[in-house]
Amino acid sequence: MAKKQITRREFVKVVGSGALVAGAATFGVPTLLRAANKPIKFGQLNTTSGIMASQGVPAMRAAQIAQDIINQAGGIMGRKLELVQEDDQVKPSVGVRKFRKLVLEDKVDFVFGTNSSGVGLACVPLANEFKKIFISTSMSDKYTGANCSPYVFRIGESTCMASKASAYCMVANAPTVKKWAGINPDYVFGRESWDFFKQGMKDKNHPVEYVKESFSPFGCQDYKPYITALLESKADGVFTSLWTGDLINFVKQAKPFGFFDKVKAFVNNTTAVATSIGLGNEMVPFWGEARYYPFYRDSELNRQYISMYQKKFGGYPAADTGAECFASVVALKLAIEKAGTTDTPKVIAALEGLEFEVPEGKKWIRPEDHSGIDEVVLLGKFHHDPKYPFWVYDPKTYFTVPGKEIAMPLSQTGCKMAKP
């Protein structure tokens, strides 16, 4: 009995002193020292379920590759980088909920991602409310427009750049095509794309006639009426900003109509490579623009990105948004190191004007409006090359435009950047 009591007392003592030690560890040691061992958390929002999963899953994977590269090289200022990834289901309401969760529950330091501007723009007010940096990997120019915010960045090519580059490419490569038509998804991205394409034609003083403009619902099942109406308009050239699943459905349904023989030029401003992979042997020789094209740039980083991706996941890292997610992680890492802290206002200052290298080339973040601008934007015409598992750009058709030339001029953005 006595022995037992002693044991219990000793037990209490041991536990008690243990708690004391733990307490000292928690409260006694300066916060700074503890923070040094804590990982830096990046929250990521992309779409990994539903029909857009084919874009979101590779986006998550690309960020994981960036995480691996950074952590293998010692992390960020000696701290590990930890990604917290959430599915936004390509729904603004879900994106907003997950953004809150990332900030409030996971206590991430920064947020980046989104495949659709519909979701990303819905998250902007939260970035302002929580005073958290949010780097968008979707394309709208609105992130950096009249409602620009010190907390919000758009890392990559904007709708304006992609659409104008498409127009410039057509002026150079299909100068005889004068009757143009458009088929675009019926939401902000599709409408803006079509306007910027026409603006691009105007920039070049290229005299063209627009014989048909059509907007199809996102996730449209039956493109045949749109296809027949386009053919009926006798357009020689067709511009489209349909992306991934929608573009694949369109091409598959248009092909049996002889659409790609009747139309002399067909140009797409987004997700071209993913479309080529999805279509396999069904692919057709159209002009494509992709935010990331794996086979253009010969650099150490690009080779490392592709080989690590292939080793970990198989296949090519071809999804457009993937490259932008990779770029977001890299930009944040560099900015934190430049600032010497994860303190938001200091990281914002470090991001502004940051020049850095990503697999597709060099990027620069324009300080005035937080717009990411690529050194060059690339287009090409797809052809079959037995060396590759899917149709690739014919290297003879490579067409590049300097990003600065097609970025929306600062005078037109309407952005008046506030102080954080």
Binding site: I51, D222, P225, T228, P256, A274
Partner: protein, 290 residues
């Protein structure tokens, strides 16, 4: 507008209508007899496309036709499992609960598909025999595959009509749709009838998916994009009515096609205006037999 263009768009619309009918016919028969709103019907449609791709690319020398048949059989087996194991436990429960369970099926089947097939888009080629088009007056092309879809829809409609109105089993299905208690009172094996009908419905969903394969990006979630339209058709036609599903499919397909051609900015609305008009004037649907 020229008359020939009108006829041309009518045929284009019909090919969409018939694809919708293949999927909607299965759903309406299940909804009518088993009285469950089977949201997983879209997932079975998706599986039809995936299985067709799988058989076409994994078995050597298999043609599209054989791959399609194998796919349809596979989807039928999955349907049998879904009915026999979980679904029959909840026939007497509320629609809300049934909806929840069939919705869970979608998520499970979607994730299973993602696990086995990945998230990349897959592409099924149009069978060689049906690649290309025939040229109609006015230099307009009509894809052979679209004509084939129309033919499939009409043949399936005819076979279902024969089965439903000319066979004993079909009469039982009709009787059960109208009054279930009467069937069991007469000593009919109702659970077995339910299983058979659920398999038939699944087979039709799988057939729709397999036939849609060459026209679509085969992908996880392709079922969700079609299921709402299919439910609209079933509601407009009248739950359980084959004739209703047929007519409503044609209405929805043609409204969509002519909407896009003439009033593009309202094209989406037409289907749902039709739904609202029918719900207000004939809440039981155009052809409900009850």
């Amino acid at each position: 507008m020229e008359f020939s263009y009108f006829i041309y768009q009518l045929i284009i619309g019909l090919s969409y209508s018939m694809l919708l009918f293949l999927i909607a016919s299965g759903l309406t028969i299940i909804f009518g007899l088993l009285n469950i709103p089977n949201f997983a019907h879209g997932a079975l449609y998706m599986l039809g496309a995936y299985f067709t791709y799988f058989f076409l690319h994994s078995l050597p020398g298999v043609s599209f036709g054989i791959a399609l048949v194998l796919a349809v059989v596979s989807v039928g087996l999955i349907g049998a499992f879904l009915e026999y194991v979980p679904l029959r436990k909840i026939y007497e429960r509320s629609h809300a609960l049934q909806l929840l369970m069939t919705f869970s099926f979608i998520l499970i089947l979607d994730d299973a598909t993602k696990y086995f097939a990945g998230t990349d888009f897959l592409s099924i080629a149009i069978p060689k025999l049906m690649d290309g088009s025939i040229t109609l007056p006015g230099d307009r092309e009509m894809p052979v595959y679209s004509i084939f879809i129309i033919a499939c829809g009409l043949v399936v409609a005819y076979l279902l009509w024969l089965g439903l109105y000319k066979t004993r089993l079909g009469k039982l299905v009709q009787a059960g749709t109208a009054n279930k208690e009467m069937l069991s009172a007469l000593g009919i094996n109702v659970p077995r009838l339910f299983t058979l009908v659920f398999i038939l419905g699944s087979v039709l969903a799988g057939l729709g998916g397999g036939l849609a394969g060459p026209l679509k990006a085969v992908s996880v979630g392709m079922g969700e994009t079609v299921i709402i339209t299919i439910f609209a058709i079933v509601i407009v036609g009248g739950v359980g009515s084959l004739k209703g599903a047929f007519i409503a499919s044609i209405l929805v397909g043609e409204l969509n096609t002519f909407g896009v051609v003439f009033f593009p900015s309202f094209a989406m609305a037409f289907t749902y205006i039709l739904v609202i008009v029918v719900l207000l004037t004939k809440p039981e649907g155009l052809f409900r037999t009850k």
